[in-house]
């Protein structure tokens, strides 16, 4: 900590030699020391694997060795693999099920709970609480809800003498079951994002609207919703990025079944690379996912940049 001598002792410039005037903001190599530790880990654990993965995707590789160069062979095999195409479709289907639901319920909750009352605060805490649980616990909870016989759902249906839908085993319902568990798990984030957007709308606009005799519906439509348009787009994109990465719920609730109908891309990668040890093909699949997510992330970047879009 004692670095008083970090600045070199100052000697008067020799006669005739004009020392340059000091510039405390000039670029200096020794300042690099502060960012070097992070950049080391960033390079070794993110950049190198990123390019290594691209390289792998052009090779036939297993755990310890990278085999022959196969060019686009892995990609060609990938797009001829019905399971992979199914998993891409599954992922899009899952995103389509969850993202609009999350955005709309999140917005609804934010609009209802954007008050300074104690009840609203408690409910906000409640709706966000599921987000801090791990995927393991969430799926455990929802399997116990959906499970026949002792499940919560079948118990409730039992009271009315009905049979509960089989959310895990019915091929047409399995993905919906996973989506329900996911919405339950992830609803906190969109709600919080909408809440923070709502709180940034200046109060005086509402006061002006009240003076103009606007009713609540008019206020909502002409003030609130336009003000959070950008946040809505942002929430949708953030959720697309997140839900594209579906893995744990599908793996733990259905193992991707029945008939690969709930197998998302990440699970396909996991299966291919770490259960069948076809690393090259797994890498190729992960590049496809990367490109999909990168497009969404670019959209997010553009939306965040265009602050002017905010009313």
């Amino acid at each position: 900590m004692d670095d008083r001598r970090a600045t070199p002792p100052t000697a008067l410039p020799a006669a005739g030699v004009r020392a340059a005037s000091i510039d405390i903001y000039a670029p200096q190599w020794r300042n690099f020391i502060f960012v070097a530790p992070f950049l080391f880990f960033f390079t070794m654990l993110l950049l190198v694997p990123l390019f290594w993965g691209m390289w792998l995707s052009f090779h036939k590789a297993d755990t310890f060795s990278s085999g022959n160069f196969v060019g686009f062979g892995n990609y060609i095999r990938l797009f001829h693999d019905k399971v992979f195409l199914q998993s891409v479709w599954n992922t899009f289907y899952f995103v389509l099920l969850t993202v609009p639901t999350l955005a709309l319920i999140g917005l609804f909750l934010a609009l209802c709970l954007n008050r300074r009352t104690r009840t609203a605060a408690v409910l906000r805490t409640l709706f966000f609480s599921s987000s801090v649980l791990s995927v393991t616990i969430v799926t455990l909870i929802w399997r116990i809800v959906f499970i026949p016989n002792v499940g919560l759902l079948s118990t409730i249906y039992g009271w009315f003498g009905a049979t509960a839908p089989a959310f895990i085993s019915d091929p047409s319902l399995a993905m919906i079951g996973i989506a329900i568990a996911t919405v339950w798990w992830c609803i906190g984030l969109p709600m919080m994002l909408f809440l923070s957007a709502l709180q940034q709308i200046p109060q005086d606009i509402y006061e002006a609207a009240a003076l103009d005799n606007a009713n609540r519906w008019q206020t909502l439509r002409s003030i609130t919703l336009p003000s959070i348009k950008r946040t809505f787009v942002l929430v949708v994109i953030v959720q697309i990025v997140l839900q594209f990465q579906l893995f744990g719920q599908a793996w733990l609730m259905t193992r991707g079944g029945p008939n690969n109908l709930t197998k998302p891309i990440v699970l396909y990668i996991y299966d291919t690379a770490f259960r069948r040890w076809d690393l090259g093909m797994g890498a190729a699949a992960s590049e496809v996912l990367f490109i999909l997510i990168l497009m969404a992330a670019m959209a997010q970047y553009l939306v965040t940049r265009s602050k002017a879009g905010q009313a």
Binding site: T7, T10, L12, S21, I22, I24, A26
Partner: protein, 363 residues
């Protein structure tokens, strides 16, 4: 402990923009000097260059004849009080003051003695254990000065230190600063855009505008004999009256003739003046209000500002030009009245097209 500061041919550019253009200035030891000018004139940049926070592009800065512009800020032996005070928010007042001394490895007992002495001078012994967040604006300002004093610097630099205080506190702190200077007998450089602060505090004022020094002089020199039209207009409130004028140089003293025939006999030597267009200038206190027809010109009163000890009269001449004159505190003049304006020729100024000024002969 105190020192003179010399600035030699200093220039400063930010990209293509020149902020300071070939500036030279000698600040005597123990002098209280004020850099005065509108925002963006480069006065803060010059101060920060002395502190070492900005680069000197060309030229040199020396303290006691030793060049310092290649030294890092901490090695220059100067202390600075920032506009925002820049107190370390998580440190107590004592730690704020001790930090700089600890960094040069001063023994603890010496640090404590210095802090005690500075706190006594500034009458803030009772604040030493508090955090900046628990202090009022005036107290924070005091701590910022205290943090400078403990270092016993060769010179103090103040960057608009009073601008965050309310009006009453600003006046009081101004007086305290003047007393502090008396007491410490230290070189002080003070940057402000407030001409009252400059007038009241400075031994000498450096008026800056548009990358250049307009004038260096004592407050009364600046006020009575402004070197340029800019200085004349910037210093003094209300601003000096300016009227476009032709010059009659036929007699020993020049006569200024306004567009509508009004003439003012000045005491400015004709033979010093040159051909060309002029602006006639006179301060409001040098324009007396007299009955209509008895002054140099007549005007209709637009606005009255009663300041108590005197009344400012805003009168409109026939051609629409507004002149501010001054009358007694209990003036009977009312808005709409026609009044006469008597210009004091001894206090008249003339400004040429380049802004250069001519003043009355010195008595």
């Amino acid at each position: 402990m105190t020192a003179d500061i010399e600035i030699r041919n200093v220039s400063k550019h930010f990209g293509a923009m020149t902020v300071l253009d070939d500036l030279s200035l000698f600040i005597k030891a123990r002098e209280f000097i004020v850099f005065l000018g509108p925002s963006g004139c480069g006065k803060s940049t010059l101060l920060r260059m002395i502190a070492g926070l900005e680069t000197v592009d060309t030229g040199e800065i020396a303290i006691n004849n030793e060049r310092i512009d290649h030294l890092p800020p901490g090695k220059r032996g100067i202390a600075m009080v920032f506009q925002s005070y820049a107190l370390y928010p998580h440190m107590s007042v004592r730690d704020n003051m001790a930090f700089g001394l600890e960094n040069i490895g001063m023994p603890r007992d010496l640090i404590d003695a210095r802090i005690k002495e500075s706190a006594r001078i500034l009458e803030m012994e009772h604040l030493l254990e508090r955090k900046p967040g628990q202090l009022s604006g005036g107290q924070r300002q005091r701590v910022a000065i205290g943090r400078a004093i403990v270092k016993e610097p060769k010179a103090f630099l103040f960057d608009e230190p009073l601008s965050n205080l309310d009006a009453a506190l600003r006046t009081r702190t101004r007086i305290e600063l003047a007393q502090l200077h008396q007491r410490l007998q230290s070189t002080m450089i003070f940057v402000t855009h407030d001409q009252v602060e400059a007038m009241t505090l400075a031994d000498r004022i450096v008026v800056m505008n548009n990358r250049k020094i307009e004038q260096i002089g004592s407050p009364m020199e600046i006020y009575d004999r402004p070197a340029t039209k800019f200085v004349a207009g910037f210093v003094g409130a209300p601003a000096m009256n300016f009227v476009e004028a032709m010059l009659d140089r036929s007699s020993r003293n020049a006569t200024a003739r306004f567009a509508d025939g009004i003439a003012v006999q000045t005491e400015i030597a004709s033979d010093q003046t040159i051909d060309g267009k002029y602006t006639f200038g006179i301060r409001s206190e040098d324009v007396r209000i007299v009955p209509a027809g008895q002054g140099n010109a007549d005007g209709v009163v637009d606005v009255l500002e009663r300041l108590g000890e005197r009344t400012l009269v805003y009168a409109r001449l026939g051609d629409g030009q507004q002149i501010v004159g001054s009358d007694a505190g209990n003036s009977r003049v009312a808005v709409g009245d026609k009044v006469g304006l008597a210009f004091d020729g001894r206090k008249s100024h003339l400004f040429g097209e380049t802004g250069r000024a001519w003043h009355a002969r010195e008595v």
